[in-house]
């Protein structure tokens, strides 16, 4: 039973265009959401996060949108750069005493073509 789903295994975009990566979740106890980026043979690195009390968080070229009613979040990268090519994982954690426990999606491989 996957509680965090990334339905697109891969995405290809042209340099300079917008990349939109999507994520859906089923557990209504999740109240904090994160995106991690992973290059081959490296560990995941934190990219951006959002609390459930917000619907948008922006950091430079990266913006995360949260739609709680739809249990959906998305990561927008604009403009996309070739160095953004990586696997992107969506993750979520519950509130309360288990807020350290992350549940991850399977990841989306983003390829940005020059």
């Amino acid at each position: 039973d996957q509680q965090v789903k990334q339905n697109s295994p891969s995405l290809s975009v042209q340099e300079g265009r917008i990349s939109i990566l999507n994520c859906d979740y089923t557990n209504s106890m999740f109240d904090y959401f994160l995106w991690y980026k992973k290059y081959p043979a490296e560990g995941p690195t934190f990219l951006i996060s959002i609390s459930s009390i917000k619907d948008k968080n922006e950091d430079g070229r990266f913006t995360v949108f949260l739609n709680k009613s739809a249990k959906h979040l998305s990561l927008h990268i604009v403009p996309s750069q070739p160095g953004d090519s990586a696997v992107y994982f969506c993750a979520a954690s519950p509130g309360g005493g288990s807020n350290y426990k992350l549940t991850f999606g399977k990841g989306t491989l983003l390829t940005v073509n020059p």
Partner: protein, 117 residues
């Protein structure tokens, strides 16, 4: 180094053998996590250590898996009588504080790639 360090980076073992994976967290980080990623899957939570509190072992898949941590430093993950389904990347992570809130980034190591043949 400044990051989370894991060893070995790669391990091939025969089915039925025991393996031990090591993690050196970032100095001063009180929280330490183990995750694993099997092929084509997302990261799965295994275990969480926080200071001297009892660890959360709820993610360990079977009693063949165990983990220890000495104080707020090194952790070892031990898999006994390895099976082929244990083949995965085992990722260790650490953070300064508790939880995933704003300002408490979880930093991952590069992982230990385990192949059971």
């Amino acid at each position: 180094g400044a990051g989370v360090s894991q060893s070995p980076s790669n391990k091939v073992t025969e089915k039925g053998k025991d393996v031990e994976l090591r993690c050196d967290p970032i100095s001063g980080h009180t929280a330490l996590y183990w995750y694993r990623q099997r092929l084509g899957q997302g990261l799965e939570f295994l275990i969480y250590f926080q200071g001297n509190s009892a660890p959360d072992k709820s993610g360990l898949p079977s009693d063949r898996f165990s983990a220890e941590r000495t104080g707020e430093s090194v952790s070892t993950l031990t898999i006994q009588r390895t099976q082929q389904e244990d083949s995965a990347v085992y990722l260790c992570a650490s953070s300064l504080g508790v939880g995933t809130g704003v300002g408490n980034t979880i930093y991952f190591g590069e992982g230990s790639w385990l192949t059971v043949v």
